[in-house]
Symmetry: C2
Subunit: 237 residues, 2 copies
């Protein structure tokens, strides 16, 4: 792990989303919002977005059940009702926002876990560095893919050459035999396989070649940029 602060899972604890700034107690989290293991012990754990303090919970629930505002025993039922309705609305809003936030943070953590070990080791991981490293990593992977796709083309040329060599061997052997000569011992080339492991495997998804530096090129059809990688050699020598 080293100086890397990213730990595993375990949600930050919502503190009950009530009444704004003055009651905000802050969160005792480490970097990346992942709470230190024992920090959960000294604060109230609330798993939902329901408010837990600082105002009349009973009235809140009553208001939420849709009871008429005249049935409130408060001195000013209308104002109270408005207040609790508003509070309820805000709490729902906060919950939605919290969910969104968690989702984003989870994805960033996920990205952090996908980075090459070396990158993750030598960097102090926080949201910014994870995202930067992810950009760099994607660029590297794309570049590698482009290089390897180019090499794939070279391999196809090699296949052709091999086919021709194998054919030539048969021609020469025929010529020797036709003249009553023995085929000499010596180098014994291996038989060329008909199928490769990549063709036999069920995972033969085509590898897509993205347009380089021209993300909006109109000439790129969706399927036109596909390069089949499963064309190793099927030789009939």
């Amino acid at each position: 792990m080293g100086s890397n602060h990213i730990g595993s899972g375990s949600r930050p604890i919502p503190s009950g989303g009530s009444s704004g700034n003055s009651l905000q107690s802050g969160s005792p989290n480490g970097p990346m919002g992942i709470p230190i293991a024992n920090s959960a012990s000294f604060r109230q754990i609330v798993s939902s977005s329901a408010p837990t303090s600082s105002f009349d919970m009973e009235a809140f629930v009553r208001g939420g059940r849709g009871s008429s505002n005249s049935s409130n025993q408060s001195t000013n039922p209308t104002v109270d009702s408005d207040f609790y309705r508003d509070r309820r609305k805000k709490d729902i809003h906060n919950m939605i926002e919290r969910r969104r936030r968690y989702n984003i943070n989870d994805r960033i953590k996920e990205l952090g876990l996908m980075l090459p070990k070396s990158t993750a080791e030598e960097m102090k991981l926080n949201k910014g560095t994870i995202l930067k490293a992810s950009c760099d990593y994607i660029r590297q992977l794309q570049q590698d893919r482009d290089v390897m796709l180019k090499q794939q083309h070279e391999r196809q040329q090699l296949e052709e050459a091999t086919k021709l060599y194998a054919k030539r061997v048969r021609e020469l052997e025929d010529a020797l035999q036709k003249n009553g000569l023995n085929i000499p011992e010596g180098t014994n080339p291996p038989p060329l396989p008909n199928k490769t492991s990549s063709e036999n495997s069920s995972n033969n998804r085509p590898i897509k070649q993205e347009p380089f530096e021209e993300p909006l090129s109109p000439s790129q059809t969706p399927t036109g940029s596909y390069v089949k990688i499963c064309q190793f050699f099927i030789l009939k020598v």
Copy 2:
């Protein structure tokens, strides 16, 4: 662009970070915080984090210059000085936080631009979907790399076979010549190249094979997981 809401550049406009919630005027931004082009016209543009409204700017500046609190002509110099000092501190804090936020958002936008066109087209891009798609994309690229590295091994076998075939051709030709026979016309295999384009190019960074599903494997040395990709064939036939 389609239903894609990601536009190009142009910072959201900080509204001058003064005095908390009651003065917050909100931001007229589109999705992903990128302001609609003409929305800048109906709000004050402030390029720094300096506050612009709702309190005595003069006093703020004076307080910031380190004048003694007794020189203020306010009715309560000490309280005012504390207030402006605190305000100043918060503004700096807000600026730092804003910088951090911009950085994160810029990186997410950058990720969004690196995604395959098809993905970017069919998805409604927001922070969450960009991050999810980025995770998926990295997984795909890693998988492609693994498949292609496996194929690279197969190509090396093919190289060996080709070398042997070429050698066999020479043996057979020698045998024919030794017996006074003409070498028959027929298939004419191409000469095997000594170098490939990938070797000639300066870009021969090795492609790293990350350990699969074992990110903490201790047996993986930093250099042990490298697979040279520049080993196409140097044949001496």
